[in-house]
Symmetry: D2
Subunit: 399 residues, 4 copies
Amino acid sequence: MYSAGRQFLQIPGPTNTPLPILAALAKPTIDHRGPEFGALGREVLEGVKEVFATEQPVVIYPASGTGAWEAALVNTLSPGDTVLMYQSGWFATLWRKMAEKLGLKVELLEGDWRSGVDAARIWAVLAEDKAHRIKAVCAVHNETSTGVTSDIAALRRAMDTTGHPALLMVDTISSLGSIDYRHDEWGVDVTVGGSQKGLMLPPGLSFNAVSQKARAAGKTARMPRSFWDWEDMIAANVNGFFPYTPATNMLQALKVALDMLREEGLPNVFSRHKRAAEATRAAVRHWGFETQCAVDAEHSPSLTAVRLPEGHSADALRAQILTNSNMPLGNGLGQLADRVFRIGHLGDFHDLMVTGTLSGVEMGLAACGIPHRAGGVDAAMRSLAGNNAPGGLLKGSAA
Amino acid sequence: MYSAGRQFLQIPGPTNTPLPILAALAKPTIDHRGPEFGALGREVLEGVKEVFATEQPVVIYPASGTGAWEAALVNTLSPGDTVLMYQSGWFATLWRKMAEKLGLKVELLEGDWRSGVDAARIWAVLAEDKAHRIKAVCAVHNETSTGVTSDIAALRRAMDTTGHPALLMVDTISSLGSIDYRHDEWGVDVTVGGSQKGLMLPPGLSFNAVSQKARAAGKTARMPRSFWDWEDMIAANVNGFFPYTPATNMLQALKVALDMLREEGLPNVFSRHKRAAEATRAAVRHWGFETQCAVDAEHSPSLTAVRLPEGHSADALRAQILTNSNMPLGNGLGQLADRVFRIGHLGDFHDLMVTGTLSGVEMGLAACGIPHRAGGVDAAMRSLAGNNAPGGLLKGSAA
Amino acid sequence: MYSAGRQFLQIPGPTNTPLPILAALAKPTIDHRGPEFGALGREVLEGVKEVFATEQPVVIYPASGTGAWEAALVNTLSPGDTVLMYQSGWFATLWRKMAEKLGLKVELLEGDWRSGVDAARIWAVLAEDKAHRIKAVCAVHNETSTGVTSDIAALRRAMDTTGHPALLMVDTISSLGSIDYRHDEWGVDVTVGGSQKGLMLPPGLSFNAVSQKARAAGKTARMPRSFWDWEDMIAANVNGFFPYTPATNMLQALKVALDMLREEGLPNVFSRHKRAAEATRAAVRHWGFETQCAVDAEHSPSLTAVRLPEGHSADALRAQILTNSNMPLGNGLGQLADRVFRIGHLGDFHDLMVTGTLSGVEMGLAACGIPHRAGGVDAAMRSLAGNNAPGGLLKGSAA
Amino acid sequence: MYSAGRQFLQIPGPTNTPLPILAALAKPTIDHRGPEFGALGREVLEGVKEVFATEQPVVIYPASGTGAWEAALVNTLSPGDTVLMYQSGWFATLWRKMAEKLGLKVELLEGDWRSGVDAARIWAVLAEDKAHRIKAVCAVHNETSTGVTSDIAALRRAMDTTGHPALLMVDTISSLGSIDYRHDEWGVDVTVGGSQKGLMLPPGLSFNAVSQKARAAGKTARMPRSFWDWEDMIAANVNGFFPYTPATNMLQALKVALDMLREEGLPNVFSRHKRAAEATRAAVRHWGFETQCAVDAEHSPSLTAVRLPEGHSADALRAQILTNSNMPLGNGLGQLADRVFRIGHLGDFHDLMVTGTLSGVEMGLAACGIPHRAGGVDAAMRSLAGNNAPGGLLKGSAA
């Protein structure tokens, strides 16, 4: 049943898809072996490198993001290999489960789910591993379950100081296209991305940006692989084509998404997300709540996980808000179930959507009788005003 | 150039068009002489009666709303006829200009642009007009320039007590489908409507709901007419067809709009608009401003015109908000130019759009240095909460 | 109910709307008073001149084509004025009825519905009219009921040789954008156009291209007019705006249509229509039927009216084809009812649509037992091959 | 660049996507953890069973069809297992390559690429394999490279008579939803399907229908698997959800596709494809060419591969037709490169698209100087007429 007005889809992804992207998705399917497709393929394969900040190949899968996790592992490792994973939250946990299902050994560093990857702990483990038993370090750039962003550059530096040859694999599913990320500069070997967050597409495409070192590792890696095989992809991609049927319409939409990001300018996109996040945290602080992220420098620009006071159900709050304001919010995952709710503020998003979203939360808090200090939206407005670039952030892109 | 996020189009119409309506608009054009069209025609011609609350014919023009003003006049009057018009605001003024251009004599009752039609003054004029020189009384139900709603039922009663035979013609362009209106019950002879406000369509369709008395008047009316002629329309409409090419795709979209209104239920639609209007006025009062409408019982549920303090430019404020928040607002018209700005809160609209809209205004006031008391959005949230139906207004229509 | 496959909508308009135009139609409605709209307005007001081949103003109405007929008359004439009309077919007849309803006197030259306007007869009448009682000559460029195109340049020359000051008004509803037409070069005073044929839009916009002489006539013309008034329009159009709410989304779509026509190139568009028409006639001749148009030089490039042998019902044939092939065709109008059917081959149309259309007709003829020589589609293919530009007509526009 | 008219996309998939499906694809993305999605998930998971003719689980992957091949193998087999594959054409070859890349041993029965799976040869091999070394038999139901359909029921019977326990895995990528197929009745263990052919969606979803026996095999199968794991999927699917982010918008579109197939009725859908195929072959025979399929009973209803006479390039012909008629056709694959071209006649397809397609081919043959007998389209029309159900095949589904 239709509910009046545009839904505020404030889960931390999939995100609100802009109409030009939806329109591109709805264009007729084209011949994936014809010249029109070849040109499209070359364009998006080249264009997508910019959001990874890489000059190296980016493999595009006609599959959702979880598949790209699997691709990273099977293209570089052999059965029984050991990987070092840092459990920063729920999605890090899921990636670990996948690695184990695939027959890898996982050495796990438990985190507190309130802070990012501790590079020093990684350093310590690698420094110990003289035998180079550990083949790869896996980390999540932006933990979608907690709203914590990890410092990947620092992690790389820590790894480098040990001289350990392990590959560095990073999940950027909820940061790609909304938080500054640099595959090449930071020395990442495999970056895992998806279409449905900062890229503003529906789910259905995923990515591996791959370093030379990762490809070299692939030469001796013995995990069985076919659908996910990088080399077949990279070979066919030279002319803009794919070794098997690609997700044609999603690629048509990706082209538009890349055009939009380029038009706004990635630095502007990243600033816009930071402003939204700061305004959201201003409201949360004003209400008297904690964010799940406990480290100032690590707050995620793309989502905020909010802890409710003991004795209050985050799921009941979310249900109330969904019913009354037609706004879905993210739930608490794993150990955070019913304890936190998550506000997505990423993708195709602007100031009035921030305040509209926060007003929905504030009205929900009141309706559910959860003690809080009213005025959170005001606080958010002051934050937005304070962070306003001269003349308005949107000035450059006003029609 | 694309500006991130969905635009808040808060002018008092055209309004935000819901996606199902846009999708219907984009369906392939069909044969306007074929059986599929006939069924569509019958359905919308019948269905649209419900929003006028009439059992009498509603003529649908493939033309924008201004055309339906002209249709009302040329179908019922003869050159040189006198009509009595009440200048409640800018749009009443435009209708008067049209009448004069068409060669009618207009007797004008000047209003103060802050209150609705004064039925007593109409009564007085008609009571004087023993010769029945006045052929029609023209009034605007909801003045889009001022945010004032007039009591049409009271106007009709006043006319009736004089026994004067003048027709009653009412403009409902910005009230149809968003404010309770009853063509039959209130004894209106011609109701003029358009597609681009409460019906949530783009501009391009307009309507005349017509009484028996109006059609009878048409028999002797000598204004030249062809395109606007009711009788050709009504005759062809019997089978769902039109005497000339109709706006096929707009009618496809109208069908969806009517389905949506019926699904939500017109009483719920009207309540939703009243809640949004009350919340908006709560913010305006909190800021310390006046609404242009000065009569409590006459506040429009579909838009609010806000008066800025002397010495402040409403147009500068609107420009700032457009640039910084990508939100167009309505400008002051005629004597209100630069003095007021207008907030549309009609059509496909819900609570978070109310608060998002008001936050854009409040941030604009701050940025422009216009003195106001912060906290207007808070006040709006309290208003929305206070007016909430048990279990949430949207409860019934949650997906 | 959905019928498998894309419908072949082969009526002579409204025509198949290309997807990019449908997508533009489905873009969100924008503020018709804002800067984005102003830019759009200026662009389409300027761009549309090219399809009329004029440097003079083109007025765009938010109304369907019939309205533009009325606009032509009320902007230039006074009640009781005489106009000379040439009854080349059904639509000429309708225009005449309109003129009479509007209180004009119509002097009618009856045609045979099988040939175009006879300029010599117009010449003769004007030459007789020493008193200049006739204020305007009205002709239809492409008769949609018969598939006959008239030579407007010749008509103008004939008028000029008499020195008679009558205005020349021409209906191009089914030729604009599909048949070469030159408002300025041919000295037309008012050209009437619509959106739903060669411009490939749905119905809902119409046009008047107006000469200086026509505007001058308007100064003394006393027909009442307001909605249709040129001068209000032209004044507001200077900045890309309109005196009353325009059909925003249709204008968004018009911009795309103009881009598409420009990209293909109008001369190529015209050639493409001629090829389709010749191929269609090749099939008709092969089947052993007559076209309604009896003059070789006057065959319409945009539609073909086909005469069935006596004793066979064109309507029954059309019904069979609609049921079996999901293809609507145009019916016979007025005196041609049930005698002819009309094949539209205009707008967004190419070779395979020609042959697909003709195969639907040929299968229908067989199914209805109408005697004909099989092989019409073959004949059409030979015609298309013979008329092929070197390298393929579509070569230039292949993606 | 836009080429006038709707493209005839006559490759054997991806197929022409109907507008209602494109519209569903372009609906806003919804929360894949919310109640609206749950209802959608349950509906499509249940509904899709009908096109597989199964009561058993169908796993839906957010990945293109090739992925579902991999899923079939990794869910049921262990490294080093032997599978028996029948090389009926290019896609069978690709599946074999995948199996080998994944570390399986492939025992290959070479086919002639002109006929379907020879059940007797399978029988012979299995009858020999007393040690049950062969774990699975893999066959392609409809070889997209050759236009040959294999008799899967016969294959199953042959396998059954040997008492051999091998699983039967069948690729239905280009038959699902266009050719009668019965997962349960025919005793298939894993059926592999994709979205982009008979289901009329873009590429991006794929399917495994799985038998109890296949799931049981999975319990001991040691191929590493995570993304493709059936059991995680089936467990989450109970409530309509998925273990990781699904391709939301594709599922929205799948719902519409299933509704459309159900509305037309699968038996009618299958008949429609057979009629199109027979008409196509009538044209091919008339032209004097051979189909690649050499066995009468095995002609594919969804595509036809046409052999050109020696010395003529199929690729040159396809290029000419693409340029001149904007119609992509399928190329010859593997050993058939440049020797055959393939005509897709599947998905959202009807009679006039058949004849339009064939006319494009016939005009191309003439333009390329390839000797052929003219009149193929005529022959196709006679075939269509002869196969017409009383009253027209489309009768039931006319709007």
